[in-house]
């Protein structure tokens, strides 16, 4: 069955909501039985004892009251179940966000962003039906039929036995046929999804179809494929609907059997009319919770599937967040001539056989400019990301002035280590927000200064809405270069001691390239920097180059020295020439 113990625990963790939802559902069901009992008394009275309306009015009033209460409990039940779902969802979403924060951007590389968003929003929403309909129904489907049995057995043993024997058939058939359906749909699944996606595939590829001259025949093919899809779907439905058919047959046939059986016993005076009529009235109610459960079978499956995805994120192993030691304020470490040591760093990405970084040892001193060079896949970005603590290395250590960095929180560390990625994220918000990212702790002077450094002041002054101009919306369209500058100012504002940057790759636009380089240089002045280099000119300008090859530190030194001392490095530089 679709029972997820962890979801059940979530429901219980939300306090009184879950028990109350179950109790109200039970009361609503119980009152239905009571109403049937009163109804049988009224009809029996009028029919056999020739009671008048006035005589049965008290009973009718009782029915009216019962009906009102039933409506009330139905209302309460649905409201409570809805509140329960909201509470659980709120908790799960908060947990997901916290987890994503801990997992960091490295995790997002594998799990695509869109997929994770789907899990956090639609995935969690899929639990609505599970908590609002399915979970309470599971309990109701057990309690209510048992209650009816307890009432019916004393009244009429035979009917009780019929009920008792047929009830288990419903879950039994559900499971048996469910298995068969699963097998069938499993076999047809690929065909079905392919046929189902054919239309989207066609629309997405319509340009390609036109280029290949296949657009005209496609309309007919859509019909053929859709027809095939219909046939396959109907084949699956033919089996799927058998579940409902079986449940329906059990319920209606049992009702028929009970009706005939009590009818005959009544004929021979073995049972009173009122009791017989009551049993007939509750017969459909007896099967109803079980049938409802099967109708909500799907809600159960959807909920459990969604839960599996949610927990797969929540259960993903955290990168080692070691014990954080005090103090959190690391300013004193960066005061004097600090030096950072990377010792014997080794790292492999999950699922990769080869180390992306193998036993790399190097050190960085205050105020100097460093560059990382090497072909793509040589480990440059892994090294930078370890320094930024987006990645915790498999082995090796990161030290500042001889102290282990791993013991401090990543936030405390990143206050002093800044990162300018190759293509920084620009948020769909104002220029100001893109600079502060919502942090209210910057002064106007600080912001102005950052704009100056990034050479954005003139542009901002020219814009009618100034710093409040939205960056990505229609209206003024910012060029790629201007957006790069915004990101530059964003980092400058935070004034990091160490700046790690992935040099923007030049597209063939010399003017843009030159201007951006000037701003970047200005920002580097007086700071310790580590540049992932893509330009020869960068290598020529830094104090020291770390040349990485296949994850190892193959050479280090200043560019001109390396050209003579390291044949590997020379090869690397000269391969550019060979291309011509």
């Amino acid at each position: 069955m679709n029972f997820q113990p962890r979801l059940f625990r979530e429901a219980r963790a939300s306090g009184w909501l879950f028990p109350m939802a179950v109790i109200t559902a039970f009361l609503a069901g119980g009152l239905a039985i009571y109403q049937s009992y009163q109804l049988s008394r009224i009809i029996s009275g009028v029919f056999l004892d020739a009671r008048t309306l006035a005589q049965v009015t008290p009973l009718l009033r009782l029915i009216l009251l019962t009906v009102l209460l039933r409506a009330l409990f139905t209302f309460l039940n649905e409201m409570l179940a809805g509140h329960l779902a909201v509470t659980v969802k709120l908790r799960l979403r908060t947990l997901l966000l916290e987890k994503i924060e801990r997992l960091g951007p490295e995790y997002l590389k594998n799990e695509t962003t869109a997929e994770l968003t789907t899990i956090a929003l639609q995935g969690v929403d899929a639990l609505d039906a599970y908590f609002a309909q399915y979970l309470p129904q599971v309990l109701i489907a057990v309690i209510l039929p048992l209650t009816i049995l307890a009432v019916v057995f004393p009244l009429d043993l035979v009917s009780g036995i019929v009920f008792f024997l047929t009830a288990p058939l419903i879950p039994l058939f559900m499971v048996l046929i469910g298995k068969a359906v699963e097998n069938l749909t499993g076999r047809q699944w690929r065909a079905l999804t392919r046929l189902g996606n054919y239309f989207l595939d066609t629309l997405q590829g319509i340009g390609t179809l036109k280029l290949l001259g296949r657009n005209r025949d496609r309309a007919g093919e859509i019909r053929t494929v859709s027809e095939k899809y219909r046939e396959t779907t109907l084949n699956v439905l033919r089996i799927t609907f058998l579940t409902a058919l079986a449940l329906e047959l059990i319920a209606t046939l049992s009702t028929a059997v009970v009706a005939v059986e009590i009818g005959l016993r009544l004929l021979y005076g073995h049972i009173a009319f009122q009791q017989a009529f009551f049993i007939l009235l509750v017969a459909p109610d007896f099967y109803l919770p079980l049938r409802n459960l099967s109708a909500r079978y799907h809600a159960g499956i959807t909920g459990v599937t969604a839960a599996e995805k949610i927990y797969s994120v929540l259960d993903a192993p955290d990168p080692i967040e070691k014990l954080v030691r005090q103090p959190e304020e690391l300013g004193h470490l960066f005061k004097d001539n600090f030096h950072i040591d990377l010792r014997h760093l080794t790292h492999a990405y999950p699922g990769m056989k080869e180390n992306s970084l193998a036993d790399v040892t190097l050190s960085i001193e205050r105020g100097r400019h460093y560059a990382l060079a090497g072909r793509s896949g040589a480990g440059k970005s892994t090294l930078a990301r370890i320094l930024l603590r987006f990645i915790e290395p498999d082995a090796g250590e990161l030290l500042i002035n001889g102290e282990h960095v791993g013991g401090w929180s990543r936030e405390a560390w990143r206050k002093y280590v800044g990162w300018l990625p190759q293509s920084p994220t620009i948020f769909n918000a104002s220029i100001l927000h893109n600079l502060t990212l919502g942090d209210p702790g910057f002064t106007t002077e600080q912001i102005q200064h950052a704009l100056d450094i990034a050479e954005l002041s003139v542009l901002v002054r020219r814009l009618p809405r100034g710093l409040d101009t939205p960056l990505l919306e229609a209206g003024y369209r910012f060029s790629g270069g201007e957006l790069q500058r915004v990101a530059l100012a964003r980092i400058y504002l935070r004034d990091p001691q160490i700046l790690v940057l992935d040099e923007p790759i030049a597209h063939l636009d010399p003017k843009l390239q030159h201007g951006l380089n000037t701003s970047i240089r200005r920002m580097m002045t007086g700071r310790t920097t580590l540049t992932i280099a893509h330009h020869l000119s960068t290598l020529e300008q830094v104090d020291e180059v770390f040349y990485l090859k296949d994850g190892r530190l193959a050479a280090q030194g200043c560019h001109t020295d390396l050209l003579t001392t390291s044949p590997e490095y020379r090869d690397f530089i000269e391969s550019r020439e060979q291309l011509k």
């Binding site: 029919f47 997002l108 027809e227 209606t252 009818g263 004929l267 369209r477 063939l508 010399p510 020869l536």
Partner: protein, 577 residues
């Protein structure tokens, strides 16, 4: 309501099945009513202790209804789903026929946003239109009238009570419920869409956010949205609870009113006691027909929105279909003169006064920064975009008079955005040339530098490449697209950065094959790469939509113009790919 009428008109093509499904649906509910009615009859009659023979007919009836109800229901569900699937088939075909002439430009420009996802979503909504909306409503209408008439034969007042009770419960209350919940649920949908965009943005920018220690500020709006959505949902659950309670109340009040009216009639002898029992149970059973109506009301309003969007115009079809002119058989050259192109609601021109003359046996390269208009140039040539001014001629004939499909058939294109279809390698290649033999396919696979990859695929040409070719890397996709070009024998080749995703060695391999294939044809090569330029008859430098320099490589190198500057920057690039 017009979109709904259009939906209904589609249904007339399978009126027979529609009729059958409605009859089966009515039969299923009638069987349910019959089951409880005859059961009540048996028990009530038995209470009067008649001979068993008088009950025989009713006993047979109970058994018949007991079995037939499930069977009817089963058949009804199958038939109605079949109707619905047929309807969706028609909708898809119809939509494709409407959108095809203007595609792909209309899919991008049309009302912005993700048009395709929405179309698919709308079709998904309509997949339930018949099953969840139309069929239940029609069945309910018949059942409400039928049972009311039937009960009316016992006593006319009772017929009225049942009729109004069912109409209020099944038709009026759901509409009220819909009106009550529509606004809050719409704003919830709106909020969810907005917060989905925020989540995507935050997660995409997580690296920058964490690097700036701005987590606290970045997550706050997300958490606020979650809390707000929770509040709205709680309010909705109160409303939906009210509606469920109300539906239950109305149904039972109908029963109550029936008793209230019927009991005096029984007392007066106008109605037998047996009938009272039967009427009470029939009343309860007939509500089965109106139970699905609240859900139908919801689905109806969703269907209306979906249908309206689906049937709305899909961008004007500016391509007049004209038969291809007979003099267009030699295909000696294509010529663009003074082409200007800009996109709606953008000021800047994507192409500005561009001249280009591509003849057979000639090779032209186009260089430029990203966004300079190189890809738009191809879009104009394959008539995906129509220039605002300037002429585009094939062998001296203006293309405005030619079937765009015919113009396209002159070009074998390797586009920048490669699309592979969910299928196997063979299907994807055969699209380029349905008549190609297996040998042909193997030849182009080899020429496109895919042999090594192909050898490692277990199923050979039947290897499944997944949705959009997800099972292939970017480089492999590009080579498969090159293989498609190699399969086409067309007079001109348009290659849009054909080696962008390839390493140097395979890039050279692919380019050599493409050049070989271009022998005696016209070739237009868009590139970032400075290799191969010496093989070109002409090089165009495109900047902000304008051609700023043109000539042979040697001429450009001597001129000390823009090209030379670019060349220096390019030399500064390290090959670290």
């Amino acid at each position: 309501m017009r979109p709904l009428i259009r939906l209904l008109r589609i249904l007339r093509f399978f009126a027979g099945e529609v009729f059958l499904s409605i009859i089966l649906g009515i039969a299923a509910i009638a069987a349910g009513i019959g089951l409880l009615g005859t059961s009540a009859h048996i028990i009530a009659s038995a209470a009067l202790h008649p001979s068993i023979a008088t009950l025989q007919v009713a006993i047979v009836g109970v058994r018949f209804f007991g079995i037939s109800r499930g069977v009817f229901r089963y058949l009804e569900r199958l038939v109605s789903h079949s109707v619905n699937l047929k309807m969706v088939t028609r909708l898809r075909e119809d939509f494709f026929r409407r959108i095809e002439p203007g595609a792909p430009a209309n899919l991008v420009a049309l009302r912005g946003g993700d048009v395709l996802q929405r179309v698919i979503g709308d079709l998904e909504v309509l997949e339930n239109f018949y099953v969840r909306v139309l069929a239940p409503v029609m069945i309910a209408l018949v059942v409400v009238i039928g049972t009311s008439l039937f009960i009316g034969t016992y006593a006319i007042e009772l017929g009225f009570v049942l009729f109004f009770g069912m109409v209020i419960t099944g038709f009026i209350q759901p509409v009220i419920a819909l009106l009550m919940t529509r606004k809050p649920s719409e704003s919830l949908v709106h909020l969810n869409a907005k917060s989905s965009a925020k989540w995507v943005e935050t997660l995409q920018g997580l690296e920058d956010i964490q690097a700036c220690n701005a987590q606290r500020y970045a997550y706050a709006p997300l958490l606020e949205d979650i809390a707000l959505a929770g509040k709205m949902q709680k309010r909705l659950s109160v409303l939906s609870g009210l509606n469920s309670g109300m539906a239950l109340l109305l149904m039972n009040l109908t029963l109550f009113a029936t008793l209230w009216v019927a009991i005096p009639i029984v007392n007066d002898g106008g109605l037998s006691g047996v009938s009272l029992a039967v009427i009470a149970l029939i009343t309860l059973a007939s509500f089965e027909a109106v139970n699905p109506l609240p859900a139908a009301a919801h689905q109806l309003s969703a269907s209306r929105i979906a249908a309206r969007r689906l049937f709305s115009p899909v961008g004007e079809d500016h391509n007049q279909l004209v038969r291809i002119d007979s003099e267009l058989t030699s295909f000696q050259g294509v010529k663009l003169e003074g082409i200007r192109l800009s996109y709606p609601d953008r000021d800047e021109k994507v192409l500005d006064d561009v001249d280009l003359h591509l003849k057979r046996g000639q090779k032209i390269a186009v260089l430029g920064t990203s966004g300079a208009g190189k890809t738009s140039l191809i879009n104009v040539l394959v008539v995906f975009q129509q220039a605002q001014s300037g002429t585009f001629k094939v062998d001296g004939v203006d293309v405005k008079g030619i079937d765009p499909d015919a113009v396209r058939s002159l070009f074998a294109v390797l586009p920048q955005n490669i699309y592979l279809f969910n299928g196997d390698i063979r299907e994807n290649l055969l699209l380029a040339n349905p008549g190609a033999t297996a040998d042909d396919l193997m030849r182009v696979i080899e020429k496109a530098g895919l042999s090594d990859w192909f050898q490692s695929q277990p199923d050979g040409l039947e290897t499944w490449i997944g949705e959009r070719g997800v099972k292939m890397s970017g480089g492999e996709k590009q080579r498969l697209a090159a293989a498609r070009v190699l399969l086409q024998d067309r007079p001109f080749l348009l290659l849009d950065e054909p080696t962008a995703n390839l390493d140097q060695i395979s890039g050279e391999w692919v380019m050599r094959s493409l050049f070989q294939h271009a022998e005696g044809k016209g070739l237009l090569l868009i590139t970032h790469d400075l290799a191969w330029l010496d093989a070109m008859d002409e090089i165009l430098l495109l900047e902000n939509g304008r051609i700023v320099e043109r000539g042979k490589l040697s001429e450009l190198q001597d001129s000390n113009g823009v090209f030379n500057q670019l060349f220096k920057v390019e030399m500064d690039r390290l090959i670290d790919r």
